[in-house]
Amino acid sequence: MEKENDILKVAGKQNPFKVPEGYFESLTSNVMKRLEDPVERETPVVSMWMRVRPYVYLAAMFIGITCMIRVYTGLTSGVNNNSSVVEQATDEYLLSSVDTYTLYEYLESAE
């Protein structure tokens, strides 16, 4: 290229930049020192407790759920008992306002 020849004639391709002495000789080793090796993962030592732990947690969970269910069913049967007490009290209240003769007539007609 003619224009490139003009530049070559004028300035050439000399390298005008300075480099510290010995730089290239030590460059490769300096670069390699900065390169980290991939971390090798050691196989972790698993203790007996670590192996058994998930099963223990599962068992505890089932026991807990069972207890909760029993408590809940116990409460609900208690509620049923309470309702029969209320019903009985209501009957007693109603019956307390009825005299004996009226009650006797009722019972005779119900037979």
């Binding site: 005008p16 300096n30 670069v31």
Partner: protein, 183 residues
């Protein structure tokens, strides 16, 4: 590096026993040319050293994802180019210079004797090159100084050969104009 040698190295990357040694060969083979590629862009030795090391660290970290679909040199060039462009954009953002603007902020590096040892003519050429936008500067350096083929530059930058030729032609024209205007 020959293609067969590259294929063997890529194969060695897959084996944890041989991967580090294979990568060391890569570093040894490509570090100097990558260094100059970066140095011509950022001008400072210290910055170049940092960016070069970052390039290899990134390559090492992403070694698993490299399947040999490109040449090792192309792959490394791509990483290095990204590092350079990111670095230069960051510098411009810090100094408030528009991203498309020229790297005039790097001009002072040409006056630092610990960085630059060229004569006035060399300094003038470097100043002319600094007037170019970053990507055009990259293309010029790769073609003019490293004498890479357009196809190799195309692989590294992901730009078509036609666009690269136009970019290089325009870069040369701008450098010529700079010389003409700064006699």
């Amino acid at each position: 590096m020959e293609e067969n040698q590259e294929k063997e190295l890529i194969h060695q990357f897959d084996d944890p026993q041989t991967r580090r040694k294979a990568f060391e060969v890569v570093v040894n083979s490509f570090s100097e040319q990558l260094y100059w590629q970066i140095r011509r862009m950022v001008l400072s030795h210290e910055d170049t050293n940092d960016l070069l090391q970052n390039t290899f660290i990134k390559a090492w970290t992403n070694l698993d994802s490299f399947r040999g679909e490109a040449r090792i040199s192309t792959w490394l060039y791509r990483i290095a180019v990204n590092e350079c462009i990111t670095f230069l954009n960051k510098q411009k953002q810090m100094t408030g210079i528009p991203l498309d603007d020229v790297d005039a902020s790097l001009l002072w590096m040409l006056e630092a004797p610990e960085e630059f040892s060229g004569d006035d003519l060399q300094k003038k050429l470097q100043k002319a090159i600094l007037q170019l936008p970053d990507k055009q500067r990259l293309v010029f350096n790769m073609k003019y100084y490293q004498e890479m083929k357009y196809e190799e530059i195309s692989d590294a930058l992901g730009t078509s050969v036609g666009a690269l030729k136009a970019s290089y032609h325009y870069a040369v024209k701008k450098i010529e104009e700079f010389f003409a205007n700064n006699d």
